[in-house]
């Protein structure tokens, strides 16, 4: 009889994933990696949603995950378009080159 994995474990994984994603967003300069990190953070949130939904036996969290996936898909589409524009201007996709809007 498989022992049910407690909720806190899922949440720990979720937090770990979120921290890794955030760290990736902060320290990487390649926008593709940053996007992946953002996806990691979104999915850590998804993980938390489904874990809670499973734990409390309601479907709300499950439904939320679909919304998040939709939004992240749309976000990727916009983000890739932005990356292409950036590349056309700078001939590179290093985000630190995009620093001319400053005080």
């Amino acid at each position: 009889m498989a022992q049910t994995i407690p909720l806190s474990w899922y949440l720990a994984i979720s937090a770990l994933l979120f921290a890794m994603g955030a760290l990736g967003v902060l320290i990487r300069r390649n926008p593709l990696i940053i996007f992946m990190s953002v996806e990691l953070m979104l999915n850590s949130a998804n993980l938390a949603f489904v874990a809670f939904a499973r734990s409390f036996g309601v479907l709300t969290g499950q439904i939320f995950v679909f919304f998040v996936m939709t939004v992240s898909a749309a976000e990727v589409a916009v983000g890739l378009a932005l990356i292409i524009i950036i590349f056309r201007n700078k001939h590179s996709i290093d985000v630190d080159l995009m620093n001319s809007l400053k005080g």
Binding site: L26, V95, N99, K102
Partner: protein, 694 residues
């Protein structure tokens, strides 16, 4: 009571002329000369009719004075002054003279002002002239009809104003029509000299109010006797200061100097204001104040002496004048001296009698002189403009009033000659013309009452006959001494008809108070208490007539037998030598007044202007004290210290502070998007941490 109904008409004598002048002011702009003159003359003529009705009412009544209340004027404390009209024999006599002679002069002026070379078809000036004339009649009526010294003073000032306005009528030119301030200077001289007299009148009025607590004639005269017994000095003070007013208005020594200059006004003005009516206001004042003057013999003596000396003094000056109107002006001063001497001696009836006859013949003489001047101007107008005789510059300064330019005018201007002759003989006192009777009555009274004045007046009368003879010979006889005189023409009927009426009055005026009949004495005794009919003194009359005839004969010897020719000196100059120059230069009184009074006054004014006002008030008080303090306060204190160092420091400090804060903050916005993300993360962590841990 029909007569009392007539008395209530008395305000009309003031308001008819006022209506005339208002009509001319309001509607005169759309009317022609004839209509304007006719309205003004009618206003004056109706006033004469009203005056005649008043006289009729007095004559049919008992002749007592009647006071008609008209309006309340002043109520201050004890002082109650109402504008009441006083109808008595004296005021009605003055009203008749003023409006009667005034109407004739109005009619004359219709023609004269049109002919005046200075007129130049300026209808506005023409209208203004008649408005002023009507205003003068109204003011003179207020003067003679008022029932208090204050109303008399209102009229007194009003006629002074009209005199000023009319002397300076051609204010932008001189008597010859050239641009100049001469006329307006003459007007100011008259006005200022009269102010000195009015000052005396005012002092007398204040003293009167102080002593009597009343200014109405009735109130003053009923108390006069009591006050005189308690404090005779008060009455003396009042009467002597009234004399100052008389000397100003009636051109007596030492204030006579304005009257000769007043001839700068148009000739009808000289006749009306400066010969017949306004200048006699002083005589009227003394006659009106008879109850006061009879109480103080010293004042009477002073008045009589002033009049007598003036009569002689002015007569000597008249001998040496060349201007036809100046001679008449000095003659007027001299004749006013006769009247003032008469009323001063207490011969009130004689003075008023002479006032009336003088109004007739002196108005006649002035108007005739105006006709002569017009005749010469017409003659001058007909001359070819660049004639051979005389250069063009001497043509420019041709003076139509200078008797040296005249001569032989009796052929060109016969009517003017005859009326002038009548006027001159009346003035010289030749039997049976008006001047004979009135002057003789004065001389007879003086002979009895005041021998010193009698001799002064007798010599003056001799000189009067002489200078009038001189004038008639010079103007009308001999040969023309100037081309203009030989081309002179008679004046039109509108001018000569008033002259003829006045000439008739100058002949018949003596019948007012013939010896033995004494109609004027009987008339005036209702008003002036204690007048007695003068005795006709054959000795005095014979002497004065003899002297007058001698004087005329003397003038014939000098001027008639061998008439002056062009450029010849006055034969009297040879006879009198330097004395003639003294007469000709008028004793240098004007120059002396300039040196003693006017220049000193100018010095004081200059001192006040330059030193007090300029250096002290402007340079020191205004520039240094007020402006300097203000500048120091605003520049040094407010500007430098408060504004620049304090308020600016606050504003600049705020700006600097903002700059510093922002230059610190701008480092946060470094453009690296990841650092923004870090900040967002950190913010979320902090907020969540706070929410969790709180």
């Amino acid at each position: 009571m029909e007569s009392s109904g007539l008395f209530s008409l008395v305000p009309l004598i003031v308001f008819l002329p006022v209506a005339g002048l208002l009509t001319n002011i309001i509607f005169g702009g759309r009317m022609n000369e004839k209509a304007i003159g006719a309205i003004a003359s009618a206003a004056s003529g109706f006033a004469f009719v009203v005056a005649a009705l008043l006289g009729f009412a007095l004559w049919t009544g008992n002749g007592e004075a009647i006071v008609i209340p008209f309006a309340d004027w002043i109520h201050i404390g004890d002082l109650n002054v109402a504008w009441n009209f006083r109808v008595d024999t004296l005021s009605v006599l003055m009203m008749l003279v003023v409006s009667g002679v005034g109407t004739l002069i109005h009619i004359y002026a219709i023609g004269y002002m049109h002919e005046d070379v200075r007129f130049k078809n300026d209808i506005g000036r023409y209208r203004r002239f008649f408005v002023f004339l009507n205003l003068f009649i109204a003011m003179m009526m207020i003067l003679v009809s008022g029932d208090s010294y204050l109303m008399l003073f209102v009229g007194w000032e009003g006629v002074g104003l009209c005199s000023f306005l009319l002397i300076g009528f051609w204010y932008d030119m001189d008597t010859l029509g050239r641009p100049s301030f001469a006329n307006s200077n003459a007007a100011r001289k008259a006005f200022i000299t009269n102010r000195i007299g009015d000052f005396g009148f005012l002092i007398a009025g204040f003293a009167m109010f102080w002593a009597f607590k009343d200014l109405s004639f009735g109130g003053v005269f009923t108390q006069a006797e009591h006050i005189a017994s308690v404090a005779p000095g008060v009455i003396l003070f009042i009467t002597l200061f009234l004399l100052v007013g008389v000397a100003g208005k009636s051109a007596q020594l030492p204030l006579y100097v304005w009257l000769p200059d007043a001839m700068a006004g148009p000739t009808p003005v000289s006749a009306l204001i400066h010969a017949a009516t306004m200048v006699t206001a002083g005589v009227y004042l003394v006659a009106r104040s008879a109850p006061l003057y009879t109480l103080v013999p010293q004042a009477q003596t002073t008045v009589a002496l002033v009049g007598g000396i003036t009569a002689l003094f002015a007569a000597t000056i008249a001998v040496g004048q060349y201007d036809i109107k100046k001679v008449l002006a000095y003659s007027t001063i001299s004749q006013l001296g006769f009247m003032v001497a008469a009323v001063g001696m207490g011969a009130f009836v004689a003075g008023m009698f002479h006032l009336v006859t003088h109004a007739f013949f002196k108005a006649l003489l002035f108007l005739s002189a105006g006709s002569v001047i017009l005749g010469l101007e017409r003659g001058h107008h007909h001359l070819p403009h660049h004639a051979e005789h005389g250069s063009s510059s001497s043509e420019e300064v041709f003076d139509p009033g200078d008797m040296r330019n005249m001569g032989g005018l009796r052929k060109q201007m016969p009517v003017t000659f005859w009326v002038y002759l009548i006027g001159a003989l009346a003035l010289a006192g030749i039997f049976p013309l008006a001047g004979f009777w009135s002057k003789d009555e004065i001389l007879a009274d003086a002979f009895h009452k005041f021998p010193t004045v009698y001799w002064l007046l007798t010599v003056a009368a001799f000189l009067t006959a002489f200078y009038m003879g001189r004038q008639v010979w010079m103007v009308f006889f001999g040969k023309p001494r100037h081309a203009a005189a030989s081309h002179a023409e008679e004046s039109p009927k509108i001018i000569t008809i008033p002259l003829m009426i006045l000439a008739a009055l100058a002949i018949l005026g003596g019948s007012l108070n013939l010896p033995g009949v004494h109609s004027l004495t009987l008339w005036l005794e209702h008003t002036i208490a204690g007048v007695e009919a003068g005795e006709f003194n054959f000795l005095v009359a014979g002497l004065s007539t003899g002297l007058a005839l001698t004087a005329i004969a003397l003038s014939w010897l000098l001027y008639g037998r061998k008439p002056l020719v062009e450029g010849q000196k006055d034969p009297l100059k040879k006879l009198l030598g330097p004395l003639f120059t003294v007469f000709e230069r008028k004793y240098w009184v004007d120059e002396a007044y300039w040196a003693v009074f006017v220049n000193r006054y100018v010095d004081i004014s200059r001192f006040l202007a330059d030193v007090i006002d300029g250096r002290f008030w402007h340079d020191f008080i205004h520039e240094k004290v007020i402006a300097g303090t203000y500048n120091w306060l605003s520049r040094t204190v407010l500007d430098l210290r408060v504004d620049q160092q304090f308020i600016d420091a606050i504003a600049n400090g705020l700006g600097e502070l903002t700059k510093r804060i922002s230059s610190g903050l701008r480092r946060l916005q470094n453009g690296f998007v990841r650092s923004y993300a870090l900040a967002v993360l950190a913010g979320v962590v902090v907020i969540l941490g706070y929410l969790i841990l709180k």
